[in-house]
Protein backbone atom coordinates (compact mmCIF):
# COMPACT_ATOMS: atom_id res chain seq x y z
CA UNK A 1 0.00 0.00 0.00
CA UNK A 2 2.83 2.36 0.94
CA UNK A 3 4.65 1.51 -2.30
CA UNK A 4 1.49 2.18 -4.22
CA UNK A 5 1.19 5.61 -2.65
CA UNK A 6 4.86 6.33 -3.42
CA UNK A 7 4.46 5.39 -7.08
CA UNK A 8 1.27 7.44 -7.30
CA UNK A 9 3.05 10.46 -5.80
CA UNK A 10 5.94 10.10 -8.26
CA UNK A 11 3.50 9.97 -11.15
CA UNK A 12 2.19 13.36 -10.09
CA UNK A 13 5.57 14.87 -9.28
CA UNK A 14 7.62 13.78 -12.29
CA UNK A 15 5.79 15.85 -14.92
CA UNK A 16 6.32 18.90 -12.72
CA UNK A 17 10.03 18.07 -12.38
CA UNK A 18 10.44 18.28 -16.17
CA UNK A 19 10.12 22.04 -15.80
CA UNK A 20 13.05 22.22 -13.38
CA UNK A 21 16.33 23.40 -14.97
CA UNK A 22 18.08 20.21 -13.81
CA UNK A 23 15.82 18.14 -16.07
CA UNK A 24 15.89 20.47 -19.07
CA UNK A 25 18.03 19.50 -22.04
CA UNK A 26 19.59 22.05 -24.35
CA UNK A 27 18.59 21.92 -28.01
CA UNK A 28 20.58 19.48 -30.12
CA UNK A 29 20.01 19.20 -33.87
CA UNK A 30 19.41 15.87 -35.56
CA UNK A 31 22.58 14.21 -36.88
CA UNK A 32 22.74 12.02 -39.96
CA UNK A 33 23.74 8.42 -39.67
CA UNK A 34 27.48 7.60 -39.65
CA UNK A 35 27.05 6.08 -43.13
CA UNK A 36 25.70 9.35 -44.53
CA UNK A 37 28.32 11.36 -42.70
CA UNK A 38 31.08 9.21 -44.20
CA UNK A 39 30.00 10.27 -47.69
CA UNK A 40 30.55 13.98 -47.06
CA UNK A 41 33.78 15.40 -48.47
CA UNK A 42 34.88 18.65 -46.89
CA UNK A 43 36.76 21.05 -49.22
CA UNK A 44 40.17 22.41 -48.34
CA UNK A 45 38.57 25.86 -48.04
CA UNK A 46 34.94 27.08 -48.24
CA UNK A 47 33.88 27.70 -51.86
CA UNK A 48 34.24 31.39 -52.74
CA UNK A 49 30.98 31.58 -54.64
CA UNK A 50 28.20 32.43 -52.22
CA UNK A 51 30.59 32.50 -49.27
CA UNK A 52 29.34 34.53 -46.37
CA UNK A 53 31.11 35.57 -43.21
CA UNK A 54 28.76 36.24 -40.31
CA UNK A 55 30.67 37.69 -37.38
CA UNK A 56 30.08 36.30 -33.93
CA UNK A 57 27.89 39.04 -32.44
CA UNK A 58 25.86 39.34 -35.60
CA UNK A 59 25.26 35.60 -35.80
CA UNK A 60 24.26 35.40 -32.15
CA UNK A 61 21.95 38.42 -32.51
CA UNK A 62 20.21 36.82 -35.49
CA UNK A 63 19.79 33.61 -33.53
CA UNK A 64 18.33 35.46 -30.53
CA UNK A 65 15.84 37.34 -32.71
CA UNK A 66 14.80 34.18 -34.55
CA UNK A 67 14.38 32.28 -31.27
CA UNK A 68 11.81 34.90 -30.31
CA UNK A 69 10.17 35.21 -33.73
CA UNK A 70 9.81 31.47 -34.26
CA UNK A 71 10.84 29.56 -31.12
CA UNK A 72 12.60 26.24 -31.62
CA UNK A 73 10.38 23.21 -31.71
CA UNK A 74 7.25 25.23 -32.39
CA UNK A 75 4.59 23.23 -34.23
CA UNK A 76 1.87 24.60 -36.53
CA UNK A 77 -1.37 25.22 -34.69
CA UNK A 78 -4.30 22.87 -35.07
CA UNK A 79 -6.02 23.30 -38.43
CA UNK A 80 -3.18 25.32 -39.95
CA UNK A 81 -3.44 25.71 -43.72
CA UNK A 82 -0.49 24.68 -45.97
CA UNK A 83 0.46 28.36 -46.24
CA UNK A 84 0.42 28.73 -42.46
CA UNK A 85 2.54 25.57 -42.10
CA UNK A 86 5.03 27.16 -44.51
CA UNK A 87 5.01 30.34 -42.42
CA UNK A 88 6.10 28.31 -39.39
CA UNK A 89 9.36 27.31 -41.11
CA UNK A 90 12.42 29.41 -40.33
CA UNK A 91 13.75 28.89 -43.83
CA UNK A 92 10.72 30.78 -45.19
CA UNK A 93 12.21 34.03 -43.92
CA UNK A 94 15.05 36.25 -45.08
CA UNK A 95 17.12 38.10 -42.52
CA UNK A 96 18.64 41.55 -42.81
CA UNK A 97 21.04 42.47 -40.03
CA UNK A 98 23.11 45.56 -39.38
CA UNK A 99 25.05 47.05 -36.46
CA UNK A 100 23.21 49.84 -34.69
CA UNK A 101 24.37 52.33 -32.07
CA UNK A 102 26.91 51.15 -29.49
CA UNK A 103 26.08 47.67 -28.25
CA UNK A 104 23.05 47.20 -30.48
CA UNK A 105 22.30 45.15 -33.57
CA UNK A 106 19.16 45.48 -35.70
CA UNK A 107 17.78 42.23 -37.08
CA UNK A 108 14.93 42.34 -39.55
CA UNK A 109 13.09 39.11 -40.35
CA UNK A 110 11.09 39.24 -43.57
CA UNK A 111 9.02 36.61 -45.31
CA UNK A 112 10.98 35.60 -48.44
CA UNK A 113 8.87 36.61 -51.44
CA UNK A 114 9.03 33.18 -53.07
CA UNK A 115 8.89 31.09 -49.90
CA UNK A 116 5.22 30.22 -49.53
CA UNK A 117 2.68 29.96 -52.32
CA UNK A 118 0.24 32.78 -51.70
CA UNK A 119 -2.74 34.12 -53.61
CA UNK A 120 -1.29 37.62 -53.62
CA UNK A 121 1.43 39.67 -52.01
CA UNK A 122 1.51 39.27 -48.27
CA UNK A 123 2.53 42.34 -46.37
CA UNK A 124 3.89 42.74 -42.87
CA UNK A 125 4.49 39.14 -41.79
CA UNK A 126 7.89 39.93 -40.29
CA UNK A 127 9.43 41.95 -37.48
CA UNK A 128 12.49 44.06 -36.75
CA UNK A 129 14.41 43.44 -33.54
CA UNK A 130 16.77 45.71 -31.65
CA UNK A 131 19.18 43.37 -29.86
CA UNK A 132 21.37 44.37 -26.94
CA UNK A 133 24.59 42.50 -27.77
CA UNK A 134 26.14 43.27 -24.40
CA UNK A 135 23.38 41.97 -22.17
CA UNK A 136 21.92 39.67 -24.86
CA UNK A 137 18.41 40.95 -24.45
CA UNK A 138 15.71 42.01 -26.88
CA UNK A 139 15.45 45.76 -26.44
CA UNK A 140 12.48 46.37 -28.70
CA UNK A 141 10.44 44.76 -31.46
CA UNK A 142 8.88 46.62 -34.36
CA UNK A 143 6.15 44.53 -36.04
CA UNK A 144 5.79 44.57 -39.79
Amino acid sequence: MRHGMLILSLCFLLPACIHLPFFQQSFRPVHATPEEAAQVEFPLAPPTEGRLVVRGRMGAAIQLAMDDFLPRGIKPHSGATPVEVCLYQRESYDVFAAPGPEGMVFVEIVLAPDACKMNGPVLDMGATYAIDVKGWRILAVKPG
Binding site: L87, V110, P121, V122, D124
Partner: protein
Protein backbone atom coordinates in the same frame (compact mmCIF):
# COMPACT_ATOMS: atom_id res chain seq x y z
CA UNK B 1 -4.93 47.19 -0.16
CA UNK B 2 -5.02 47.95 -3.85
CA UNK B 3 -4.61 51.49 -5.10
CA UNK B 4 -6.82 53.12 -7.72
CA UNK B 5 -3.92 52.70 -10.19
CA UNK B 6 -3.82 48.96 -9.55
CA UNK B 7 -7.55 48.79 -10.20
CA UNK B 8 -7.13 50.60 -13.49
CA UNK B 9 -4.27 48.26 -14.48
CA UNK B 10 -6.46 45.22 -13.75
CA UNK B 11 -9.32 46.79 -15.70
CA UNK B 12 -7.03 47.54 -18.66
CA UNK B 13 -5.60 44.04 -18.52
CA UNK B 14 -9.04 42.47 -18.49
CA UNK B 15 -10.18 44.75 -21.32
CA UNK B 16 -7.20 43.76 -23.46
CA UNK B 17 -7.75 40.09 -22.66
CA UNK B 18 -11.40 40.42 -23.70
CA UNK B 19 -10.35 42.17 -26.90
CA UNK B 20 -7.89 39.38 -27.56
CA UNK B 21 -10.59 36.78 -27.08
CA UNK B 22 -12.91 38.74 -29.33
CA UNK B 23 -10.17 38.94 -31.93
CA UNK B 24 -9.69 35.17 -31.79
CA UNK B 25 -13.40 34.53 -31.83
CA UNK B 26 -13.98 36.85 -34.76
CA UNK B 27 -11.11 35.54 -36.89
CA UNK B 28 -13.18 33.07 -38.94
CA UNK B 29 -15.73 35.78 -39.68
CA UNK B 30 -13.28 38.49 -40.63
CA UNK B 31 -11.13 36.01 -42.53
CA UNK B 32 -14.11 35.10 -44.68
CA UNK B 33 -15.63 36.95 -47.56
CA UNK B 34 -18.30 39.65 -47.24
CA UNK B 35 -20.41 41.69 -49.66
CA UNK B 36 -17.53 44.20 -49.83
CA UNK B 37 -14.60 41.87 -50.54
CA UNK B 38 -13.74 38.30 -51.35
CA UNK B 39 -11.66 35.90 -53.37
CA UNK B 40 -12.13 35.39 -57.12
CA UNK B 41 -11.99 31.92 -58.60
CA UNK B 42 -8.31 32.45 -59.40
CA UNK B 43 -7.63 33.16 -55.72
CA UNK B 44 -7.07 36.87 -56.17
CA UNK B 45 -8.70 39.37 -53.84
CA UNK B 46 -11.45 41.73 -55.04
CA UNK B 47 -12.95 44.66 -53.19
CA UNK B 48 -16.14 46.61 -53.82
CA UNK B 49 -16.15 50.29 -54.64
CA UNK B 50 -16.73 53.06 -54.11
CA UNK B 51 -16.41 53.41 -50.34
CA UNK B 52 -18.96 55.98 -49.22
CA UNK B 53 -16.70 57.20 -46.42
CA UNK B 54 -14.30 58.73 -48.96
CA UNK B 55 -15.31 61.62 -51.21
CA UNK B 56 -14.15 61.08 -54.81
CA UNK B 57 -11.90 63.72 -56.30
CA UNK B 58 -10.02 64.64 -59.45
CA UNK B 59 -7.02 65.15 -57.13
CA UNK B 60 -5.71 61.76 -56.00
CA UNK B 61 -4.07 63.39 -52.97
CA UNK B 62 -7.47 64.61 -51.78
CA UNK B 63 -8.61 60.99 -51.76
CA UNK B 64 -5.42 59.80 -50.03
CA UNK B 65 -5.82 62.44 -47.29
CA UNK B 66 -9.21 61.01 -46.34
CA UNK B 67 -8.08 57.39 -46.06
CA UNK B 68 -6.38 57.28 -42.67
CA UNK B 69 -9.13 59.01 -40.64
CA UNK B 70 -11.73 56.76 -42.27
CA UNK B 71 -9.77 53.55 -41.70
CA UNK B 72 -9.04 54.52 -38.09
CA UNK B 73 -12.80 54.46 -37.49
CA UNK B 74 -12.87 50.76 -38.44
CA UNK B 75 -12.74 48.15 -35.66
CA UNK B 76 -9.34 47.60 -34.02
CA UNK B 77 -7.53 49.75 -36.58
CA UNK B 78 -5.11 51.11 -33.97
CA UNK B 79 -5.09 48.41 -31.33
CA UNK B 80 -1.47 47.33 -31.78
CA UNK B 81 -1.11 43.60 -31.00
CA UNK B 82 -4.89 43.28 -30.89
CA UNK B 83 -5.28 45.39 -34.01
CA UNK B 84 -6.45 44.80 -37.55
CA UNK B 85 -4.77 45.58 -40.84
CA UNK B 86 -7.04 46.73 -43.70
CA UNK B 87 -6.19 46.74 -47.42
CA UNK B 88 -8.01 48.69 -50.13
CA UNK B 89 -7.56 50.24 -53.56
CA UNK B 90 -7.57 53.67 -55.19
CA UNK B 91 -9.03 53.60 -58.68
CA UNK B 92 -10.71 55.48 -61.49
CA UNK B 93 -13.50 54.62 -63.92
CA UNK B 94 -11.71 56.34 -66.78
CA UNK B 95 -13.53 59.59 -65.94
CA UNK B 96 -10.54 61.34 -64.38
CA UNK B 97 -12.00 61.00 -60.89
CA UNK B 98 -10.29 58.97 -58.20
CA UNK B 99 -12.30 56.73 -55.86
CA UNK B 100 -11.38 54.58 -52.88
CA UNK B 101 -12.69 51.07 -52.50
CA UNK B 102 -13.96 49.43 -49.37
CA UNK B 103 -11.30 47.71 -47.29
CA UNK B 104 -10.59 44.01 -47.03
CA UNK B 105 -9.28 42.10 -44.04
CA UNK B 106 -8.45 38.99 -46.08
CA UNK B 107 -5.07 37.57 -45.20
CA UNK B 108 -3.18 34.40 -45.97
CA UNK B 109 -2.25 33.86 -42.38
CA UNK B 110 -3.14 35.44 -39.11
CA UNK B 111 -1.77 33.30 -36.33
CA UNK B 112 1.77 31.98 -36.34
CA UNK B 113 3.23 30.59 -33.17
CA UNK B 114 0.42 31.95 -31.07
CA UNK B 115 1.17 35.46 -32.31
CA UNK B 116 -1.43 37.33 -34.32
CA UNK B 117 0.51 38.76 -37.24
CA UNK B 118 -0.98 41.90 -38.74
CA UNK B 119 -1.21 41.35 -42.45
CA UNK B 120 -3.57 41.79 -45.38
CA UNK B 121 -3.57 41.05 -49.10
CA UNK B 122 -3.63 44.09 -51.43
CA UNK B 123 -6.66 43.75 -53.72
CA UNK B 124 -6.08 43.02 -57.37
CA UNK B 125 -9.60 43.83 -58.60
CA UNK B 126 -12.23 46.44 -57.79
CA UNK B 127 -15.90 45.69 -58.46
CA UNK B 128 -17.77 48.91 -59.19
CA UNK B 129 -21.18 48.38 -60.75
CA UNK B 130 -20.90 51.72 -62.60
CA UNK B 131 -18.08 50.65 -64.88
CA UNK B 132 -14.66 49.10 -65.37
CA UNK B 133 -12.30 50.07 -62.59
CA UNK B 134 -8.70 50.95 -63.40
CA UNK B 135 -6.67 50.56 -60.22
CA UNK B 136 -4.08 53.24 -59.56
CA UNK B 137 -2.73 52.03 -56.22
CA UNK B 138 -3.36 50.09 -53.04
CA UNK B 139 -3.53 51.30 -49.47
CA UNK B 140 -3.28 49.69 -46.05
CA UNK B 141 -2.84 50.59 -42.41
CA UNK B 142 -0.52 49.34 -39.70
CA UNK B 143 -2.31 49.15 -36.33
CA UNK B 144 0.77 50.49 -34.52
CA UNK B 145 2.05 54.02 -33.98
CA UNK B 146 5.41 55.01 -35.49
CA UNK B 147 5.26 52.11 -37.90
CA UNK B 148 6.14 53.04 -41.47
CA UNK B 149 6.43 51.01 -44.69
CA UNK B 150 7.85 47.60 -43.89
CA UNK B 151 10.51 45.92 -46.00
CA UNK B 152 7.86 43.54 -47.34
CA UNK B 153 5.77 46.59 -48.30
CA UNK B 154 8.70 47.76 -50.44
CA UNK B 155 9.86 44.50 -52.02
CA UNK B 156 9.45 44.31 -55.79
CA UNK B 157 7.62 40.98 -55.68
CA UNK B 158 4.90 42.55 -53.53
CA UNK B 159 4.10 45.43 -55.89
CA UNK B 160 1.03 45.36 -58.09
CA UNK B 161 0.20 49.00 -58.86
CA UNK B 162 1.82 52.38 -59.58
CA UNK B 163 1.67 53.53 -55.97
CA UNK B 164 1.29 52.05 -52.49
CA UNK B 165 -0.13 54.14 -49.65
CA UNK B 166 0.49 53.10 -46.05
CA UNK B 167 -0.36 54.79 -42.79
CA UNK B 168 0.13 53.99 -39.12
CA UNK B 169 -2.09 54.45 -36.07
CA UNK B 170 -0.87 58.03 -35.77
CA UNK B 171 -1.92 58.76 -39.38
CA UNK B 172 1.63 59.27 -40.62
CA UNK B 173 1.02 58.65 -44.33
CA UNK B 174 3.68 57.17 -46.60
CA UNK B 175 3.68 56.64 -50.36
CA UNK B 176 5.83 54.21 -52.30
CA UNK B 177 6.28 54.72 -56.03
CA UNK B 178 8.05 51.47 -56.87
CA UNK B 179 8.82 52.10 -60.57
CA UNK B 180 8.85 48.35 -61.10
CA UNK B 181 10.31 47.28 -64.42
CA UNK B 182 12.05 50.61 -64.85
CA UNK B 183 15.75 51.46 -64.54
CA UNK B 184 15.09 54.40 -62.23
CA UNK B 185 14.99 53.97 -58.46
CA UNK B 186 11.84 53.53 -56.43
CA UNK B 187 10.81 56.49 -54.32
CA UNK B 188 9.40 56.73 -50.81
CA UNK B 189 7.52 59.85 -49.72
CA UNK B 190 6.00 61.02 -46.44
CA UNK B 191 2.92 63.24 -46.41
CA UNK B 192 3.68 66.56 -44.74
CA UNK B 193 0.77 68.97 -44.78
CA UNK B 194 -0.42 69.15 -48.35
CA UNK B 195 2.82 68.03 -49.97
CA UNK B 196 4.88 64.88 -50.34
CA UNK B 197 8.41 64.88 -48.98
CA UNK B 198 10.88 62.48 -50.56
CA UNK B 199 12.50 60.56 -47.70
CA UNK B 200 14.10 57.60 -49.43
CA UNK B 201 15.13 55.92 -52.65
CA UNK B 202 15.21 52.24 -53.54
CA UNK B 203 18.10 51.65 -55.89
CA UNK B 204 17.36 49.33 -58.82
CA UNK B 205 19.69 46.69 -57.36
CA UNK B 206 17.81 46.92 -54.02
CA UNK B 207 14.27 46.68 -55.41
CA UNK B 208 14.10 42.91 -54.99
CA UNK B 209 14.95 43.16 -51.28
CA UNK B 210 13.03 46.39 -50.68
CA UNK B 211 16.00 48.13 -49.10
CA UNK B 212 15.56 51.88 -48.89
CA UNK B 213 18.38 54.39 -48.85
CA UNK B 214 17.32 57.44 -46.82
CA UNK B 215 17.52 60.82 -48.51
CA UNK B 216 19.20 63.57 -46.46
CA UNK B 217 16.92 65.76 -44.37
Amino acid sequence: MRSRGDGMQIFEGLSLACLGLLACASTPGTAGETKDYGYREDGQVWVRGPWGAINPSKDVDAVIDQLCPAVMDLPRARLRDYGQEYCGAIYTLGDGIYYASHTSTLSNARRIGGVQRKSCIPPRYVNDERGRAVVHGDYHNHPYAANDLSTADKQAANQIWSIRIQFDAGCIVMMLVPHIGEARPGEVFRREGKSWKLIGMIKPEDKMDGIMTPVGE
